[in-house]
Point group: D2
Chain length 386, copies 4
């Protein structure tokens, strides 16, 4: 097994996202980090790249230089990760896809629904992989929830209750804190703050687990800190393509909550509850039965969960390995393509450009509904409306 080669755009010195991607790509030994354009300041980027072990000719000064350089090589990278500021995701992802690279783009994939549709069309036309990093769906037990729903353990899904609440922007002084303030400023953050930043992860997870898409939604968005233009708290009700009812609360002013991403799924035949603060236990209650604790790593789980686990039962696995599962999925997809074989279906779970597009449409729908006193709004991108 030779390693796949991997390149990174963004994630320069001092960033949080860079180390996270390098860790995710390195954990399983599937990818060798061989190329990068790590900083918008060319010299800093080249220097940092070399300090991380890149060859001088592959420590690029900017993404266009990297695109040109890699395109010309026989040993061009197998995968490019785009981890630059949000506003540049569309342009860079588009360019690499069109040049024939597989791409993993940080969320949000684009800034508008129209751009999102364009990425989807390009990905489809080129046949290249285009993934978007909704990394929380990499948790083994989230994948097990999906498998349980898919194989019918819960029967028809009636209700999904999702949550992503934290209190890290609750200080009134944050209104003036430059590290926080921009997130609530439409000029920099777009049409939504807390929903776009966190809530969308919970909504994507609801779709991932149920296998249903969000069709319409009604949002109550508020700014608990008054000077904010964009919302720091939102409640979203929604309806899904398979008939499920959804409820989603997200907040950045919930003091005492740390990283409260959780999902409850209720069907005709049972209910599930999972929370990322204790990601190695899943609570399952069959109708008329008793609440059971499903442990990550235990025997008898789904192939999807088994594939996403690395250590034995009782040893906690956390977020970094969940994230690494996205990379491992992509490695399998790339290898399968190279080998001309079907990929392992248990790995075919990484979020796609279509997910990035749907998320963007949902963000705009939440913002519109929030301004219209909660009016029910179509949450689908135009290209997916029938």
């Amino acid at each position: 097994m030779t390693k796949l080669s991997w390149g990174l755009v963004g994630g320069g010195a001092g960033s949080q996202i860079g180390p996270a991607h390098r860790l995710g790509a390195a954990v399983d030994g599937e990818f060798a980090f061989v190329a990068g354009a790590l900083d918008h300041r060319a010299e800093e980027g080249r220097f940092y790249g070399r300090s991380l072990g890149l060859a001088p000719d592959r420590a690029y000064g900017d993404w266009r230089e990297m695109l040109a350089g890699e395109t010309g090589r026989a040993d061009r990278v197998d995968l490019v990760t785009v981890a630059t500021p949000n506003a540049t995701h569309f342009e860079i992802t588009k360019a690499f896809l069109e040049a024939g690279f597989h791409v993993l783009c940080e969320k949000p994939m684009t800034m508008t629904v129209e751009e999102g549709e364009e990425i989807v069309r390009i990905a489809r036309a080129t046949g290249k992989l285009c993934a978007v990093n909704y990394g929380y769906t990499g948790y083994a037990l989230v994948r097990h929830m999906r498998a349980m729903v898919a194989r019918g353990d819960l029967g028809r899904i009636r209700l999904v209750v999702a949550e992503f609440a934290h209190g890290h922007h609750a200080d009134a002084a944050d209104a003036d804190n430059p590290r926080v303030r921009w997130r609530y400023d439409p000029a920099q953050a777009g049409v939504s703050a807390q929903f776009a930043d966190c809530g969308i992860h919970a909504m994507h997870m609801a779709s991932f687990v149920t296998g249903q898409e969000v069709e319409t939604l009604s949002a109550d968005t508020v700014s608990c800190i008054e000077s904010r233009v964009l919302e720091d708290d939102a409640m979203v009700n929604f309806r899904m393509s398979g008939g499920a009812v959804g409820r989603l609360w997200t907040s950045s002013v919930a003091i005492g909550r740390q990283h409260g991403l959780s999902l409850q799924v209720f069907g005709e035949k049972g209910g599930l509850r999972w929370a990322q603060e204790q990601p190695n236990q899943l609570y399952w209650m069959p109708l008329g039965g008793r609440l059971e604790v499903i442990e990550r790593g235990a025997g008898g789980l789904s192939p999807e969960a088994d594939r996403a686990s690395r250590v034995t039962v009782g040893h906690a696995e956390g977020m970094p390995l969940a994230f690494a599962n996205i990379y491992r999925d992509m490695a399998e997809a790339i290898r399968a393509e190279k080998d001309g074989r079907a990929m392992d279906p248990a790995a075919d779970l990484y979020p796609r450009a279509e997910d990035g597009l749907r998320s963007m449409a949902a963000v705009f729908a939440v913002a519109a509904s929030g301004k219209a006193a909660g009016q029910w709004t179509d949450a689908r991108p135009p290209m997916f409306r029938d």
Copy 2:
């Protein structure tokens, strides 16, 4: 200290509510059970009353007989509890109040907002105590939350997140189960099922703790079991008189949840979380600090919490004693009136006719908003609109 004398209407042989009230009234030795009209079948009621130790002349055949009998006695009961079927609460409560008795009425106090307003007017006119049994606010730590908010520990309240979710009506077979079916039938249950039954407790608690009233609301009500006319799941967003934003989820199809009544309160200076499944711990995080666990019975709590506790720290107290606190509050109120003194303010916490009225108005507002695609609706009773 002589015991107060107490009478019960309803709660006949085999009921759940009767033993709960007798326990609540007996626990602290404040009330002697001396009179009752326990069953709508006169002979059964008299027989059951005598079997519980009532004197033959105070084991009445119906509530009108009891009203007449007690009114004529020098040693008339100090308090009458009304625990009959919902549709009769208004008539009986009204009659006893007008005859000069203090009344504790089971929820819902009435079937309409108009009736609720009438009870409030009568209670005010007669000066008699009229309590409504929102018993969950009797928990010591719920009272401590209220005290913390009142004394400013949280600063201005921004957000309240309430929940009352269970899965006890989730079986599709419940659609035909007579013990469950009537709850979702408008002819028997009125305009709302799950919100009126459970959600209203959570909403009352939100008001109790924040000291703010619900002014407007928007509801998404659904029937997850299709044959049901009334809702088995609802999400309610609301706005409160002091500016707090509210979110409330209630469900009877959440398989795996047992009795998920919980409340989170977020203010400028900190956040609180309490859940009735573990009622002896309260989670408190001051802004910029660490999550702390406040134990019922520990030193340094509020007078309200101390008064509502009976056993030492670390020993769990449960629902029956929470409920008993309503009786203990009323005993103090009655004794204070008899003695012509002010009552202990830490006992002045039992829910009033006004709470019963507001709850009724909220139920109708939820039902109306739910039918109107979540339109924002005034949740106040007319007499409390300015």
Copy 3:
């Protein structure tokens, strides 16, 4: 159903134990409180008794007066509770038993093993009920554990792990605190402090649940606060009559633990875990299966658990109602005797004089083993050695 009549010795004004017993006896309406000798100061006791509603001639000045008074009455009390200082339990319990009264004695039943044997002999000779208040075994789910073991769900029991840890005597200043100091002074507390005070509850529970008696033990006793003569922390290993191995940790210096009474039972076919800080959930894992959460009040529990529950599933019950179950058991035993019928076997669970005796023998064995570097010691009272 007429109430049984009940008398209390001890539990004067300001005590904690008096209200706890009055609550326990009152909750279910089985007992009327009609006689008492509540204080060693005769006038205070009479005054307090009358203030609690006792008739003047049954508000006695001391226990001898009460013994004489009640013995001479046709309507003598059905049950006498002894809640006086520890050193007097033996004398009072003995006197009332010999006069033909049923007795519920606070723990410890006696100060020596010899006295304990004498009480057992008297109880057997008179045929009167003699209960000892190990009240924690009144919890519904503790009784369910016992029922599960008895009916073979766990197979042969291999291992019992018990714990009773708190941190309420951890302050070095407690060495001089008169409210705490006496507990560690052999002149006042006897041969053991923390084990005798708390550990013995956990050991009794281990016997109650497994149906096995402690035969031998090895103890490691330490005084973490140096000036203390008696132990504030102990680890006890033991062997039981049915072959189970036991481990028991008790501490009063475990800062951060509140009232950590817990029990784990491991058999050939499954394991159980229960903790009194969350007494309404029991964790059960069948061999090769998944951890399940058994809820108090849920369907399908044992008759023993059902009888010990009062409120519906999901509503917490706490210590006061557990304690009340001892009184309810005794009421059933007394009524069955009066009626000349067999008692409900699901109520036949209150701790007996034999339990009080075995506990006393265990306390002395722990003290002796602790002094002898953990030497294995016979923990049985002489009269139960074969």
Copy 4:
């Protein structure tokens, strides 16, 4: 920053330990995997090594070949990990140390105390790093506990309560299961089974956190499955060099426990509780204060905890990253040596040969005490007795 080069002995195809070490070494990008002798079957080992990307001349057939090959190279590996069967650890570790390599040895480091002493002497003589993989001490919050103790937050430590309980060998059928049986067979496992396998991790953690060594101990060892020669359950009491009292329970028959490694530390001024099943939260109660939840990744932690964290607060980190911290510590130690500078003291936390030796002495002391009815036994290796 160039990568350090790393070699692995053992961990062949299908092993669990190999991938764990490769992941731990890869996560932070500090080490490049360049050499290996992965299997005792030479061809299989070479083939597997090449399949993992090793150069053909560094995919060795056995450890002696690797020792010879690497010794002769200018670019010899910076670190060798020994992950072979237990009985070979001593020989291989010794050989590589003597040839001037830094070594990370899987536990147990040796099979006897005498061998352990020899390794310590060689490590000291050569000045090479010799680490032993007690990987659970790599958790950020375990390191924070150590830092809190070291800086005096708890005052003098009175008591340590450690636990490592699981139920994975509880099936009576395991007595004949070859995958399990050897662990309880002295011929293959040595003098101890469950204590040597799991309990020793808890004991090492107790020493790591308190900074105190175990001096004497008393053990109660039992075989709950009768056919076993070695213990499947043990309780160990101990005394530490700084005066702390220790209690340690370990079991492999505790059905329902998954991987119950936990530690409680109680000092004069506060208490700590941590459990590996929820490794991202640490419970701290200062004397006279309230229980607080310390979150991994939160602000205000110790440098040791900060260095051992990779992702932001609220995102769980698990066992693989704890383990990776041992590698990261060693990378810092190796780089500091190369650079001729002092290493970061917050990284100077990896377990040493001395820890491996002390653990071996404790294992033999537990076995001896267990056979001698719990007699108190010196747990120190002879070379560390005064």
